[in-house]
Symmetry: D2
């Protein structure tokens, strides 16, 4: 039984695990991310791998990290929350731990984990996953393989255009879907709703000490679950745009399964309901033709670790 | 040297050719399409194949047709301009001509031809093609293979959303990109421009006998090439939206090459110029990262025949 | 007691009435409109006035007609459904009937009637009316007077922009609110809905003999009242845009009252409900400041006749 | 010759002047605004009036201030940059200076000044002015009178909807025109352009020390005037939306003259050119009908003082 290590490098934590071929995590460890210190972050990754490799006979290491990774899966071209620029992460870690290493985008590894062991494990060919956290990431599997793109930068699903001349995106363009369907958008919609209609947002405002500017994503989820109408409407708004984005994926790639993952998905039917309605409406013109089933992600936080480990096994 | 037959089934013509492994058409023939008679259309296809097979030793037949084709490439589920509904075209033709047959969507076969022998022949892995005729079709090649989708209906690129609540599409939804970037849209923009600013559209209106409602696509192309500003602006308008759609393809799939084909492309730089500007602007946030080169299609009308024949060879 | 005649010139009927200062119609008559014969249409108007004037001592005549009327209220510059172009209607009728005549836009006279005798009769200063028929007309009263504009062409409320790059309007521009909030839009939304989701539109399709293309406005109203969800959604869609247009009127002119009139309003709360929700939501940022009350028109078909007569009295 | 005082209360300065019936400023004074101290701000206004009244025989005082003023022109309901809430400013100042006082919105007084003495002085009936500073204010004159609205809050032209689901406005709604056509939008467009295409924004970035986030409005104006293409494009973008907003004013109110004022207008043809093109294009469907002339404001910073004084004279 081949064991591999998966490492999920986040902006605040580096989490590693030993994963078996069934996707089971046999051991795990985690460290804080010294995000502003490039060299220390590398060494924390090496520490995590070294610790896990000491107790398990592993054959390879997979690292998942937010950012643009090159097509060879060796260099982090740019990372949004760590100070990496053209960082040759694969070779550094490989030399230090004396194991083969691959580096992969975090949304890609999560999608791969869901394809192999999670919400799309019954699919044998294709799935597309939207990972909706603060921003929106994506992962695409076609023909049983992750689509990495000619330059390693496919599946940037958050930067499809949703609204021409729409809200300014962090990327500099107006109207990317990330500005309408992400956790960031959820909070923006909820704050606007609470300012406009405070009488209908009493539950949400109570959590924020009465100040709409202090509303956070977890508050919107909690208030929505407790019945707060402004919070529920904020979920309906992002679900509307998610459904449109998912429907575009069907028009373009016609996958077997669509998966919705990321922290925002914890809201369950509060998000899935409106998303599904919008998705079905946007595809109504397909008539009675089959379209991809839409499912919530199942692996939660461990998806990154499991997906990275599995990709390392298959390198 | 294996020879195969490619048949391009259009709404007005059925064109067939014998194609060699270098993509050369060794012989060809064509018939009118009896589009409203399902049985006769089948028989015309059989006639075309039989005629060509009589003079060349062919091993297989590929048929390209507008419409939704099932994942097994055997049945036309729905065709927009022929009265086929769940038509088992592969088995009928195969039995009649005693050769293996595959059926494929017309935009897919054209894209495949450009990938193998045309504008993207230097690409070894991935390309995406927008075929801009009256409507918009698409073809996607990834990993050196045509992406057909889980249900055979991938690459319906004309039905990505461009404008929320936008112009009514023939599919029933508001705002599909086909309503902004197709030949149909070109004519609509040109007619509206000529009605609004007749003094700037004298060249175009002269071609239409003075009546904006009689403006056709070829008139817009001719007038634009002769310097008519309203016609040139109509090309700029569809180019703007095409650039946005192409940029979305980069965000989603990061291909090696993008190809723009179909009848509208005959306008050359009148269309390619604005398309390229819009494409570059929409991707400006990628900074210095490489993105797909954008090229015009090279094979023109023979793409369908050549692509269908090549897919039959590789079946 | 001064009596005047009001004449409502429509595309199919010319209806005239003798109206007293309380807005009561004391006598009325109607003729078919020979819409394609300019001279005959003039004479039908003269006939209607002559008949009414024979039995009542009237002092002036007001004529309401669709189209652009000049600032002097004498000439029809352009009419959409009658072949008038720069038609000196006032002087022709006045010479024939030997009475003072004014000509006014049909939506303006209807708005004036509602201001004086209908839904806005309690307002002493300002009201704005959207007349939603096949298209959208408007009327604006400020300072107790009809706003006619510097060139006689104010209150073309149907041609405010609703959706940039939106649906093509008959006027040649993309995205006018008339394309989203008129009776024409209602039918378009309903047909699209019935095509997309026939199972939810069985009531509506039954009225149209099963063919979505044969759906008419009265069918949508009837089906919506009987509970058909696709028809109700079509009303919700136009109500959404009407609410936005009405809210813009508050931002621009802050009137005492807003009135919604025209044939589509017969649907009652099916239209008023969604309109009011959208209106309130669009103005939520005004907080607790007062905004104009939104009311349905009260005078129905007689508004044109009554308003024209009253404007003639006040000429 | 009646003299009156006009006071322009801004967020940083209180400027007062003695104005004669020809709109000439005979004397002026200014103080800093203690914006966070409501009582002190009142007293600064009183000081300014007292100083001016000591040397000139004035008969009334007009005060222009940003914010919502009640219909009686006595109370500031809400001010965006001074801590006034339901502030009875008229009565306080009137009691202190023993003169009649009126309070009016700052964009209204500026529009009135342009109507009487500035860019629209040749108009005898109607004009509409967009004041484009950081935000967008408006003023409407119809029938020779300022349109104040039923509740004193007309002409909030910055909060007409421009883009459905567009950029979040400070008012809480998505897509107000202020988010696309104001000085704030100019800076946002310029920053985004400089981030996306730094090679084309070298002139602009040089002014900002190389950091796009430090770009300010005056920098964009200076760079645009020096030929910086990204800065010029930012002006073209806001001009596009201004033209659409101005065209909507023609559709709604058909005024004699449209005036564009506010600090952004100092860019001259860099802004007026694109604005005029967009305005003309949006109204092209009116064909050969006359539409309002579009002119830049002429009075600059003194418009507020002059307009307030003139309204006080006419109270």
């Amino acid at each position: 039984m081949t064991l591999t290590i998966g490492v999920d490098v986040g902006g605040t934590k580096v989490a590693g695990g030993v994963v078996d071929p069934d996707g089971k995590v046999l051991a795990r460890t985690r460290r804080d991310t010294p995000a502003e210190d490039v060299a220390k972050t590398r060494d924390v990754i090496v520490d995590v791998v070294t610790e896990l490799a000491a107790s398990h006979p592993v054959t390879a290491v997979g690292i998942g990290a937010a950012g643009w990774i090159d097509a060879a899966r060796s260099t982090v071209l740019f990372a949004p929350n760590i100070a990496w620029r053209d960082e040759p992460l694969r070779d550094y870690v490989s030399a230090a731990v004396e194991l083969p290493v691959i580096v992969e985008n975090d949304a890609n590894v999560a999608a791969w984990a869901e394809f192999r062991y999670g919400a799309a494990r019954h699919a044998d060919d294709s799935m597309i996953m939207f990972t909706v956290g603060t921003g929106i990431g994506g992962g695409i599997v076609l023909g049983g393989e992750l689509v990495r793109g000619a330059h390693g930068i496919a599946a940037e699903l958050g930067h499809m255009l949703a609204v021409p001349s729409g809200h300014l995106c962090g990327c500099g363009r107006l109207g990317c879907i990330e500005q309408y369907a992400s956790g960031h958008a959820l909070v923006r919609f909820a704050r606007a709703g609470a300012r406009q209609e405070p009488d209908r947002a009493t539950g949400l405002l109570a959590l924020a000490g009465g100040d709409a500017e202090l509303i956070t994503g977890p508050m919107v989820t909690a208030a929505a679950q407790a019945g707060d109408p402004v919070s529920q409407h904020a979920f309906a708004q992002i679900g509307h745009w998610l459904g449109i984005g998912l429907a575009d994926m069907v028009q373009i790639l016609d996958p077997q399964v669509l998966v919705l993952g990321g922290g925002v998905v914890e809201a369950g039917d509060l998000l899935l309901g409106p998303t599904r309605r919008s998705y079905v409406e946007a595809l109504a013109q397909r008539g009675r033709l089959p379209v991809a089933e839409l499912r919530p992600a199942e692996l939660g936080n461990t998806a990154g670790m499991v997906g990275a480990a599995d990709l390392a096994r298959r390198r």
